[in-house]
Symmetry: C5
Subunit: 365 residues, 5 copies
């Protein structure tokens, strides 16, 4: 676990605040990160009674699809080809600042309303690695959802399947409902993350109660860092979803508002969990520290008690080891006494057991 | 207590953030938890002068009841049968998202207003086990209250009795008043919980003042966890009840508003208590830690004082245990001196008592 | 002090969250606490030029008084007789929920506006015992102030005297001004409490600076608890007085608003004090802990230094106590040397003073 | 420093929450604190082209001045003579509650708008003694600023000079600008206080980095207390100045608003500084504690290492000090061996240096 | 690093709250700091098709430039010449309070709207030295941006280049867009600062995990101070940019609003980072403290174990060093026993290894 964990950790750190371009660069410039995945564009379009799915290589082909279908989902995976993204933006009339934010994957979740479209940014977590978050951007136009994700692999397979089967509301309601479904899946993907963290908190609590150990402090510290990551990511979703659900325009149908309200409730639930777990780990740290200090104290107390019992005994032995000339009757007559030795041992025994008994009576032993 | 407590504890943890379905599943799908209790439907209906109570097995029977009585309470106990719940929802025209929330028992308390009904979620605690909370959901329609609870057993027996006896306002006022009475009973059930926690805090404070012990830290830690649970549960009730009491529609009669305002006051009182007790336990933890560190210090000080007194004495004994050849008049003449031994003992006595006296004078002993 | 303090303490705790009735009981039921004082009703009425004061035993006598005087103060002391209170409520047309709150003396301060009267709850503290708080309830009607207090004894004697002497504005202005005067006296009674707590904080700070002792931690802990009690009580007064002063109805004359605004300022001042003292005691606790740990450290350091100096000396003595056969010229020639003993003592002295000097030079001694 | 500081300290404490009158006293009663300075009234009046300055003893003389000049500043210094203040209030038609607040010098900064005048309270600090704050009250009427201060001595000499020289805007703009100038001087007097505290924080940080000492904790504690005092005083100025600058009436000319906005910025700057320094001292305290505990640990570690090295050596010496009869070849043959003593010393040396080397290698020495 | 760091540190401190002028000085007086750089004025003006750039020495030359070009940027570098700044202010009709704030370089970021211009203050950081911040002030008029900076050297070279090349929107849009571009560059310059601090936090975390050392506490303390500086500087930008983007006047074109909104997002991102890093360093401090106390405990435990093992052994040796007369068969017969010495050594060995084994079994060794 150590190695992997360390690498994970380092990635997490390195990603936290990578900044965009050079200060003073022209705003609205779309520059791809050289490490991004290659851009793949896929279209899933529905009209009453029909369904169409295809990977698109020539962006101008899209015009025709948009004209023919009433609800189109353009999925862009990988942000490596700046030119394709710019071309797409031009075709659909998107603002260059928004496109810059799509490529610059360190945005906080937000909703920006433009003249005839909405720009939405969300963030998704890998369940087992909070350091590995991905920015998902959406554009919602009249009959179109355009989504951008950093890498292949997501939590939407289920949704694509429902679209393909023309199954349920997703097939009959418009792109606003599709946007809700996609966002809802992203929010729902926070729950397994919270479950994993919750399990780790519980396991740690049990371990600490059993036996406080140094590495637990490290684990508590890491857990707190991960919760901070999740909190930082989820928090702005609240405002974002609220902004969408209160947005008044023809883009969001009245009947979809109730769905966004539901999605909002889920965000609140996640935020509530994260805050609770931050508090729990804070309590846990205090608990750990007091357990550690307690067990340390116990050890030191026992060790000190052993020394304290033997030091007076050694003193008595030292006294009878003195070399006073026993010729004089005043000088150490015990040494010549027939029962001197047993007497000395008895005295030592009394002192030793007396101390031990007195310590035990005070509850120290 | 240990065993039970442990189990309780583990349950508490496991329940905290269980998530709903698979991310990407179709919203509004009602799937019962396989461990839920079997669904039992019971109807209590009143009209001026009449009262009707029956367990319902065939849901279509309800239409007739609803048509005949002016105020109907449909009690659903146990969420095990998804089909019955869906059937009920269809009969009464309830939104599938709301029904999903009914079955998914990890909602925060909330009020959602739909076209012609209100959807209300509350949370109830078992008095002696904060880990054991239960989600109660309500639908309020024109002449109907529909309640869902997870398990049989609640704090409403009193209310049913009043209904049966057609006693007091509950028999004459409409379903909005009935909803108030049911919610008020739920909120009131928080007071015994707070009383128990308060007693535990007081007992702990007395115990710590008497003698700080390791297990107290564990208890403080657990109390804080329980208070966190209660706080997390009660907090959203504030907004929920406020939303109901400010809701303007024909569903809530003007004269009922004053009752919801009273209920709101009770919620505030509980929140206030919980916050106070969180602060008190925080103070308690600091108090505990300082008491523990204090008593530890006292022990270590006493032990160290004992060592410190005997180490110089042992040194003196060591000196007179040296084997210098007493032929030379410079070498240890005391050894040959007639009163050497009493002199040495006196010196040791003076040193020992001198140190002890000096430590006592400084208040260390 | 111990005994009294302990009892006080226990009372404080027991009172904090006693809950009302059984969950599910009918709302608006007035049930007296069996330990409440007997209810005594007293009326003080003024009209331009006249004053009337009498203890009332038959509540129906009040109708006549209300009809004859323009400003009537009905003082109810002791909440023991539920029937009298209900009778009074019926005579004056008061809502049963409000009457329930009067008897249920664990309300937070609040103002509830009803159709033609205001219901106001305040909380008063005993100056020397923060555990001993009393709920004061008021009803303000067109020409009437009705006050309820738990026990005889209050801070209003002065006001009654002014009424009797028909002295100042209290005799000419209406019941709204009277309500202000009564509330203002309650708020003012917080200042001596704060003064006492402030004196205790200051005394503690001086004592800790002089010498940190265990019982101080206990005192800081108790002070924090008392401040928490006061804060919890005073806080809701802010909203209550603000609600009265912003209430627009014929019940509050425009010229009285400025008085309530002044009263509001006093509440803010008390809250400000309490918050400051909470922070001060928090600082004080940290200060205490660092003083204690510091003095402990000093003690342990000194003790350890004494041991550290004597242990090497004992070692030297131990060396010369070894029994090697001095026949061999290699074996302990010092023992036979004429100046062996003075030499050994000198070596010990050099080591001892050397260590002591080196410790002192580093500032440890 | 000790004596002065102590006295200062005690004053600070005693002043914090002295309460006004007896609870239940008639509101609006102006009672002077018997220790207040004698009241001196001074008038500075301007009209286009003229300036008039005089000490006033007969308050009725003021009417004439008010009639003749367009902008009058009545300066009242010392609050000892309640009758003069009441007389002034009657002449100018001021509310008795406001006058009570003038004399009762424990108000928070505030602005109260009356029918045709504003009542403003501010608080000023002595630069070198945060315990020594002074309440300054103002009344702003159409052509009049009336100021009250507790003691002679202020930061306004400069302003009086500008008035006397009829220099700058102060001579041409009305009393609202004069009020701004006076308030601005009060706010500006907080900056030197913050500078002094900032210097003390910096000095302490350097001292702690150099060598952590007990008295520093005391200083940090005192600094925090002073910052609390300043924060408590400055905070309400924010709302007060904001209230003035948003007050809409003929009393504040539109062109003066920009000045109050500037003054508001300064208040925010001070509050910002105080908050930052509170956080800095909090960090400083943690830093101090860790430095102290660190240096303590170093000392204890070194002392313990010395003991730990010598205790095994003493043991070896103790072994060769045993008195076994060397007749038997099994009993301590080393004692008779020619090189026994050098061998024993060598063994001891190896043990001692071995332990020391091993401790150093682990970085403990 | 030490020396430089120390100086840096001291500068940082000295700068934090230097106050403006003498309290009571006339408001709106422009007094240059004697240490400021010499004032250099440079103009960059564009009109459709033309570009003009020149250093200006005679301020009256500006009138002509302003008349001829549609978008003028007047860059003032160095605030040393108060007269030039006043002259500029008079030419452009700027309020003296605003000019005072330009020279008084301790303002918080803010936007003040005047009749026909906006006054904007921002703060810029040196990437490698958070103590070295610079106040940048702007005036935005109809066809003019006037910027003031304290020193030569900034993050705008890129922007000047784009202006000179008449490249992109900067050449076609008005001064409001130019203001946005300049502010955006300032905000962007916070990202490298955050990156550097983030790297330091990460490096520290790794170092502490590897081995806790005293100087790390100092570094954590300094990091926290730097984050406090940055937070204090960036926070007011939020309100400032929000004020600009919500400002409704002819000065800001509607199409520029979206740019300011983007800039606002960046500010929020920085604030978010700073707050996260404050929390991280707080966690880090706790982590450090627990690591230090842990390693200290380990050391003390090991040392105490060594002593505890040898003290009983020394006692045994002491016993056999006693000088009882072995004539009596009761007195120390072991001394005469043939195998006495081996027996004694064996006893010691058993005791020593027994203790060591028992300590190891408990996990202490």
């Amino acid at each position: 676990m150590n190695k992997t964990n360390d690498r994970t950790n380092r990635n997490r750190k390195r990603k936290r605040s990578r900044h965009r371009g050079v200060p003073g660069a022209a705003p609205g410039t779309v520059v791809s990160d050289p490490n991004s995945a290659k851009t793949v564009i896929r279209v899933l379009a529905t009209s009453p009674g029909t369904f169409f799915e295809q990977e698109i290589t020539d962006i101008s082909d899209l015009s025709e699809v948009l004209a023919r279908y009433t609800s189109v989902w353009i999925e862009v995976t990988g942000l490596g080809s700046a030119d394709k993204i710019v071309q797409l933006g031009e075709l659909l009339g998107l603002h260059s600042l928004a496109l810059e934010d799509v490529v610059n994957v360190h945005q906080r979740a937000k909703m920006d309303a433009f003249q005839d479209y909405l720009f939405v940014v969300a963030r998704m977590f890998d369940t087992f690695d909070t350091s590995n978050s991905e920015q998902i951007s959406f554009f919602l136009k009249k009959n179109l959802v355009l989504s951008f994700q950093e890498r292949p692999g997501d939590c939407w397979e289920n949704i694509r399947q429902r679209l393909r089967m023309r199954h349920g509301k997703i097939a009959t309601l418009g792109p606003d409902y599709l946007l809700y479904v996609l966002l809802d899946a992203i929010i729902d993907s926070y729950f397994p993350v919270m479950d994993r963290l919750s399990d780790e908190v519980d396991a740690l609590e049990d371990q600490i109660t059993a036996k406080a150990q140094t590495k637990q402090m490290h684990q508590v510290h890491q857990l707190r860092g991960q919760l901070l990551d999740v909190r930082r990511a989820i928090r702005p979703h609240r405002e974002m979803i609220s902004a969408i659900s209160h947005h008044e325009s023809h883009l969001i149908e009245p009947e979809t508002h109730v769905y966004f309200r539901d999605c909002y409730d889920h965000v609140i639930q996640v935020i509530d969990s994260v805050d609770t777990y931050r508090e729990l780990t804070s309590d846990l740290r205090d608990y750990y520290l007091s357990m550690v200090s307690n067990s340390m104290n116990e050890v030191m107390k026992l060790l000190t008690i052993i020394s304290t019992i033997f030091i007076p005994l050694s003193f008595v032995a030292g006294v009878y080891g003195m070399n006073f000339d026993t010729e004089s009757p005043w000088n150490m007559p015990e040494l010549k006494w027939q029962y001197g030795y047993p007497f000395a041992l008895t005295v030592m025994g009394i002192i030793g057991f007396g101390l031990a008994w007195s310590f035990r009576r005070r509850g120290w032993l």
